[in-house]
């Protein structure tokens, strides 16, 4: 497996599709969850919490300076499968321009990963809570 930061969402989807079943895919989520860079403790504060998640999720974003600024996202959960889902979101969103983020069809990505079928409604809510937070950051930066 390559280091996560360098993995694009297409590579991640390809990896996912090569796996046998949801159990293996879920194992894969756990593994990329373990590889997710840890969020420094000072960021694990109430204002950075994502609402709608059953576990704790903290998410921070920085928009770079310059002519075409990109949004760098860092996030972490206390649940490991959720960390895997965060890794998916980072592959889809992090390092993109605000407009690219707003143009991303995340539902199509989730569908290709089978997340729309395999996640419980509560988990899906949590996932879309994160999507909402990322999109609102992009809207402010756009």
């Amino acid at each position: 497996m390559f280091p996560l930061q360098s993995m694009t969402i297409d590579e991640l989807i390809e990896q996912f599709e090569s796996l046998e079943d949801w159990e293996e895919q879920c194992d894969y989520l756990i593994d990329i969850g373990f590889d997710l860079p840890k969020l420094p403790d000072e960021h694990k504060i109430e204002p950075n919490k994502v609402h709608g998640c059953q576990s704790n999720v903290w998410l921070v974003a920085n928009t770079s300076d310059g002519d075409s600024p990109v949004v760098e996202i860092q996030a972490e959960s206390d649940a490991m499968i959720v960390n895997g889902l965060i890794a998916v979101l980072l592959a889809a969103y992090s390092g993109r321009t605000p407009q690219e983020i707003l143009d991303t069809d995340i539902k199509a990505i989730f569908a290709r990963l089978g997340l729309d079928r395999h996640l419980s409604p509560a988990r899906r809510n949590g996932l879309f809570g994160m999507v909402k937070k990322i999109r609102s950051i992009a809207e402010q930066a756009a």
């Binding site: 159990e23 879920c26 194992d27 756990i30 373990f34 059953q54 576990s55 704790n56 959960s77 206390d78 649940a79 490991m80 499968i81 959720v82």
Partner: protein, 417 residues
Amino acid sequence: MSSTTSQQTIDVARVRQDFPIFSRPLPNGADLVFLDNASSAQKPQQVIQKEVDCYERYYANAHRGIYQFGVAIDEELEGSRAKVQRFISAAEPEEIIFTSGTTMSINLVAYGWGRKFVKPDDEILINEMEHHANLVPWQQLAKETGAKLNFIPLTDDYRLDLSQLDDVLTKRTKIVALTSMSNVVGTINDVSHVAARAKSAGAITVVDAAQSAARSATNVQSTGVDFLAFSGHKIYGPTGVGVLYGRRERLEEMDPFLTGGGMIDRVFRDHSTWAELPAKFEAGTPQIAQAIALGAAIDYVSSCGMNAIQTHEVQLLKHATASLAEVLGLKIYGPDQSHKGAIVSFTVDGAHPQDIASLVDRKGVAVRQGHHCTMPLHDLMGVSSTVRASFGMYNSEADVDVLVDALHYARKRLRLT
């Protein structure tokens, strides 16, 4: 379970044959190990068939038909009410109100009795182990009437600290609401003692029996409670139906909550008078088929014997408590076994309850994770969520062993050593 005589013990293998859900493996080939009974229990064939029979053989609306055909439905429905009456040892069938469930039953008391009798500066006594269904309605009542909420303190092991009852039960207390068994830590509360103390303070007692009704015998007269609520779906019966027991005196003095058809005596252009009990509290078309099938659920557990079910679950709890102790970093919340029923909530160091529940699911083990509708209790426990394994009459020690193996597997998968 054709015999109606109570048995001393539960023959799990035989009981499981009554529950169609256990006759098929899960899609991944594993056998279902169902440990989410505190949330809702599975249904025996006898209950399912009763509801089917109702629709196939004698269904009509209740209490309305003069036609011969409509007689059977009323007989069945009122027969079911009488079964509930005997099941909880109520004095008369009119004290049994069919509702949609525990939540509805408690709200009915909070609205019908509470809004009428609770005045500003009165007090409502609750505690932090309650399910939100026996907490939020009282918060709302307090807010709307200007009454004050008081709390019976909990001990360090999450029991009611009755040594402090005198401090919180006052002359102003109008309502004492408590659960007979915690849906999270399994604590069994001394309802008789609290009801007696409430009575001498001039307060009424409302009991949330959602958990205990399926796990031990209920006696509303010997415990001296004023109201008691439970749900059909947790005692192996249908969803959509529940019970509110109220002492006749209380039901007579309180106002209806829902109004409309079926609950009136006479409707004039500008006002109405109410029907006799229990119709006064059963506005609209009742949960006919579900209430009838609830009677079948009561027959079912009664034929197994509530004492036998209790003994069986105590045995399971003992085995679970000992076996779970083998899992590294596992912490069970709640009192020791002598003060609780077969509901075990726990955390595993270094693992989120959500991950644990997802991973044991691979082995066919259905457990719940989250706050289990008890956020204040989880605040006290200092965790936002726990894993809960709750047992029922069809669970076996083998189910406990599968859970324990699955937990070892989950720990390994989460790289805990």
